[in-house]
């Protein structure tokens, strides 16, 4: 008898419990909030540029929705997320500059200076590791950092949430995005991440050339593209750029020491994160898409122009720098393969710079979907 009863419980117990739960959830309990009128959000269909690799799926608990992305856009430009209502994400990540700020090192609230340069925000959904040292692996997790960092927006996200709750537009925006008007830290981060995943740049002249419009680049730009991608070996001439800045996304997503300094200062890059001396001085290989818009260059913005960048790789690499990348050590156009330097001619450097400017995506920096809301 007992066995039979257990059997009954075992089989029907979960159903009964589920039934009770459902009843409770549906019942008009006195302290329940008023049911909210929001329907399910609309799935957002990402338009991927031709030839781009298949991106990893977004996290299962944060699918892209039209309403989530729209909320994220509002939050991206929301100054209430900063300590003194002076700055938003969009202050250091300006669309016209491919979401950088034109400064060597980013400026936070009250004029504080970050140690590093604001990175371009583009094609982030393909990036397995974010920021200059790869400290973050998800956009949701990363979004909290600049909000709370004393050198950036300098306000605990919890305080930001309290502020958002007092702004008239947000209950409805959160409701449309997440089903209820409740504003939480988790939802703020999710919406920001959704917006960031839509920032896709893939319609530069370089892209159109690759899709078959062979007349869109000048002869100098095409020569620059060849130099950009070729390993020099004494017979073939090249800048050897694409070993790191290769492929459709213009990055190998790696971390390398490109020989800026013979000895390292306070910022050890990847080494500070991993604690490994062999990682000291390594920083992320950034995508070169829209690179003409993101000056100044390097993790600390020390190089003002693209010409300066070419000069660095051609003649200023610090060969005594610890952990210098082997590709920096071994690459030269010297026919005898003896010179330590890259040995590009001034004309070749100009041609590579001309090619780099073909990576600018004018549509991306003017796309109203990414602009501050009206």
């Amino acid at each position: 008898m007992k066995t039979a009863f257990n059997y009954f419980l075992h089989r029907l117990g979960p159903l009964a419990v589920a039934g009770l739960l459902l009843t409770t959830a549906c019942g008009p309990a006195a302290d329940d909030p008023i049911p909210e009128p929001f329907g399910a959000p609309t799935p957002y269909v990402l338009q991927l540029p031709p030839q781009f690799p298949k991106p990893p799926a977004p996290p299962a608990d944060n699918p892209l929705t039209v309403e989530g992305v729209e909320l994220g856009r509002h939050l991206f430009y929301e100054k209430a997320l900063s300590l003194d209502n002076s700055k938003s994400c969009g202050s250091c990540h300006q669309q016209s500059k491919a979401f950088t700020d034109g400064l060597a090192r980013a400026e936070g609230v009250g004029g504080t200076r970050h140690g590093r340069s604001a990175m371009a925000l583009q094609n982030l959904l393909w990036e397995p590791r974010l920021t200059w040292d790869g400290a973050h692996t998800s956009l949701e997790q990363q979004a909290r950092v600049p909000i709370e960092n004393p050198l950036e927006l300098h306000q605990p996200l919890a305080a930001g949430v309290t502020r958002l709750q007092k702004l008239a537009k947000y209950p409805e925006l959160f409701g449309k995005a997440f089903g209820t008007s409740q504003i939480t830290e988790d939802r703020v981060l999710k919406a920001l991440a959704q917006f960031e995943r839509t920032l896709i740049s893939g319609n530069s002249r370089f892209d159109r050339y690759r899709r078959g419009d062979q007349d869109i680049l000048t002869a100098d730009e095409v020569r620059g593209m060849e130099l950009f991608s070729v390993h020099p070996n004494g017979r073939l001439r090249g800048g050897n750029c694409s070993d790191c800045h290769g492929g459709t996304l213009q990055t190998d997503r790696n971390f390398r020491n490109n020989g800026l300094d013979a000895t390292f200062g306070a910022d050890l890059g990847l080494g500070a994160l991993t604690g490994k001396p062999t990682d000291h001085g390594k920083f992320r290989v950034p995508s070169l898409r829209n690179i003409a818009l993101t000056a100044p260059y390097m993790h600390d913005g020390r190089l003002a122009t693209l010409e300066d960048v070419l000069d660095h790789y051609n003649e200023h690499v610090q060969f005594s720098s610890p952990n210098l990348d082997p590709l920096m050590l071994n690459t030269t156009n010297d026919p005898l393969q003896i010179s330590p330097n890259l040995e590009l001619t001034p004309q070749e450097k100009r041609q590579i710079v001309a090619f780099l400017k073909t990576l600018t995506d004018e549509e991306f920096v003017k796309d109203s979907r990414f602009a501050a809301p009206e």
Binding site: P53, D252, R253, L329, Q337, I338
Partner: protein
């Protein structure tokens, strides 16, 4: 309620019927699909008999040159399982990129493999020229994997980067790449055949998940058929020196360590 109970009973009956049906089919129908299962290949990258630790460890070649490794990546493709009668089972569309910096890439999972007793493994080190010419790449063959030469439209088959005090400028860049050149003179794609140690067979069975453990000795890029001294060759990206390294890779970089029946 009545309907849903009826539906669930009906589903159970239908499911039972299907299960029964499938059992019967397998026994009696000779035209049924051949049974398939899975196996995996585990790759243990080493330098000699030492573990490969990127950046931190210094190794010595057979010829006595010291070196470190910062990058070690290679393609394995066109896997085949060999049978005792000399025939081979090609595993279609098998392209893998093994990257020492990515642990997950060091285990190759093969599925829908016809059951059988297999006595060896054959594979291409690199990406075959037919696939290269066919284009339309994605996944591990994508141009974002750091293994594609845009200007010559060829793959880097094996990539080793590092440092050596014997190298003229201190760096090692071995991009064993390409297949072009007159009469394939610069072909660096190699096929490796590895019979399993005598007596051992890979038994692919529905209820087994066997594993082949390969030792991949990076130091064998520099010895074997041709002795590579870093004072002479520290920077090769296709061409004659890369061909010498490819011959070394074919001669001895891969070794069957053991099989797990599982």
């Amino acid at each position: 309620m009545f309907f849903s109970r009826f539906a669930s009973v009906a589903t159970s009956l239908a499911l039972g019927a299907l299960l029964l049906g499938s059992c019967t089919d397998k026994k009696d129908d000779p035209a049924a699909e051949p049974q398939t299962s899975v196996f995996s290949v585990e790759l243990e990258n080493t330098v000699g008999n030492r573990s490969l630790n990127l950046d931190t460890d210094t190794y010595t070649t057979a010829a006595g040159d010291q070196f470190t490794i910062s990058t070690f990546k290679y393609y394995l493709s066109n896997l085949e399982l060999l049978r005792a009668d000399g025939s081979a089972l090609a595993l279609p569309d098998t392209y893998f990129l093994v990257d020492h910096a990515n642990k997950a890439s060091q285990k190759l999972e093969l599925s829908t493999v016809p059951v059988g007793d297999y006595t060896g493994l054959r594979f291409v080190v690199g990406v075959d020229s037919a696939r290269t010419k066919a284009g339309n790449f994605s996944g591990v063959l994508g141009d974002d994997q750091g293994m594609w030469w845009e200007w010559s439209k060829e793959f880097i088959n094996v990539k080793l980067e590092g440092t050596s005090p014997q190298a003229a400028k201190g760096g090692l860049v071995f991009h064993i790449a390409g297949f072009k050149g007159a009469n394939g003179a610069n072909n660096t794609i190699r096929t490796v055949t590895l019979p399993f140690p005598s007596g051992s067979k890979l038994l692919v069975r529905p209820d087994h998940t066997p594993e082949i453990h390969l030792q991949v000795d990076a130091a064998r890029m520099f010895s074997g058929r041709n002795t590579i001294r870093f004072a002479t060759v520290s920077n090769t990206m296709g061409g004659p020196a890369s061909v010498q390294v490819a011959d070394n890779i074919a001669a001895g970089m891969f070794r069957i360590d053991h099989l797990h029946a599982n």
